[in-house]
Amino acid sequence: MANPIQELIAKRAAQELREGEVINLGIGIPTLVSKYVEDKKVFFHTENGMLGVEDVLEEKMDPNLVNAGKQPVGEGVGSSFFNSADSFGMIRGGHIDVAILGVLQVDREAHIANWAVPGKNIIGVGGAMDLLEGAKKVIVTTTHTSKDGKSKIMKECTYPITSNRSVDMIITELAVFRYLDGNLHLTELMPGVRLEEVEKNTEAEFIKSLE
């Protein structure tokens, strides 16, 4: 069932991708991005060991051909398979152009937290830390607030951070932020969103740099 907020965010993220880029999509909203690349030729990499991931029709699903979210995927022409050490060599080695990731929190220095919640039984990190170290550009796609209405764009992450590296861009259903020169810049309001809404729902300070 398509969630219109998630689809909106994914569609906006897809606009950031450029012809020929190699993209790694995280679990959740990022996975939806591939639907919106249209006729741009980009290449999707998945950390379990494949380059050339495509969407797949249900009748063609193969249980042994999956992405990092363990969802069945398709195999584009010119795709290739490799082991997990080689796959993370590509990630850490700087060979992935863009990683699009979900987060639990992101702070004013664009550090993200997306792998652990203190006191909860979440014992998993997966490839998130590697992608943050290695991808040339990291885009965060997230709802602006959590279910209880609190801003996910916070002064400081209260959950454990995923990396020292700041992400490059944050896309929510309300706005687009870029992290430049040590500051979060609000560069875009999503269609129909007023500045006050963004201000009200964003805990971290940001600079207004609307284009």
Partner: protein, 232 residues
């Protein structure tokens, strides 16, 4: 490996040398590319206090998840246990030790173990809770964290085809951790869809050369769209 590769008829024979307190690498990403027949055989063995190196501990009640429910796992080394909630519960009850590693670090440490590398430096996890207590080294002005190689007594892996020498090829994303685990254990058994004559696998397409493989067995449990089913 031993000098002669064995083609096993039963999974019990294939795992005859497994003992309590050993470290066992298990291939797969969730159930994809996991050696489901050999995992079931492991569950049946009268052993305990195993250390399991695997990306996940299967799913709830499936794959390695069964081994956990039998309380045969002392320690799990992997990157993502969230998908099996039994893991978190066993951990909270103090019945299970966990060593959580970034997925790339897990893969690299296994590769290092197989390639005679004692340890290495990665930027992954620097500045995070997972680097706490670990050595940091500055190389060319950037911080890296030291990670040690991982090795095992036994590796059970999943491949697509083996030839009678033990050369292996893999199927699509069922490759994942299997080829690197094949290099990093004293004793390596591969579960395969098919065993073919030597010469049937092309020399340029072999992913795991036979020198890594001690035994092969044809899979009796396979992953299908309908879940795990008996093979033939």
């Amino acid at each position: 490996m031993m000098t002669t590769m064995e083609i096993f008829k039963t999974e019990k024979e294939a795992l005859a040398t497994v003992q309590s307190n050993q470290t066992i690498m298990v291939g797969g990403f969730g159930l994809v590319g996991a050696p489901l027949t050999l995992i079931d055989a492991l569950v049946e063995l009268n052993v305990k206090d195993l250390t399991i190196i695997s990306n996940n501990l299967g799913e709830q009640g499936k794959g390695l998840g069964k081994l956990l429910l039998q309380k045969k796992v002392k320690k799990a080394i992997g990157s993502y246990f969230t998908s099996n909630r039994d893991v978190g519960e066993a951990y909270q009850r103090g019945e299970l030790e966990i060593e959580l590693m970034p997925q790339g670090t897990l893969a690299e440490s296994i590769r290092a173990g197989g390639a005679g590398i004692g340890g290495y430096y990665t930027k992954t996890s620097v500045g995070t809770d997972l680097a706490k207590g670990k050595e940091i080294k500055v190389i060319d002005g950037e911080e890296y964290v030291f990670e040690k190689a991982l090795k095992a007594d036994v590796a059970i892996i999943r491949a697509h085809k083996a030839d009678t020498l033990g050369n292996l090829i893999y199927y699509k994303t069922a490759r994942n951790f299997n080829p690197i685990m094949a290099t990093a254990a004293q004793y390596v058994v591969a579960e395969v869809d098919e065993i073919v004559e030597v010469g049937q696998l092309k020399s340029d397409e072999i992913v795991t050369p036979h020198l890594f493989v001690d035994g092969v067995i044809v899979a009796k449990k396979v992953l299908t769209k309908e879940g795990v089913v008996d093979n033939g």
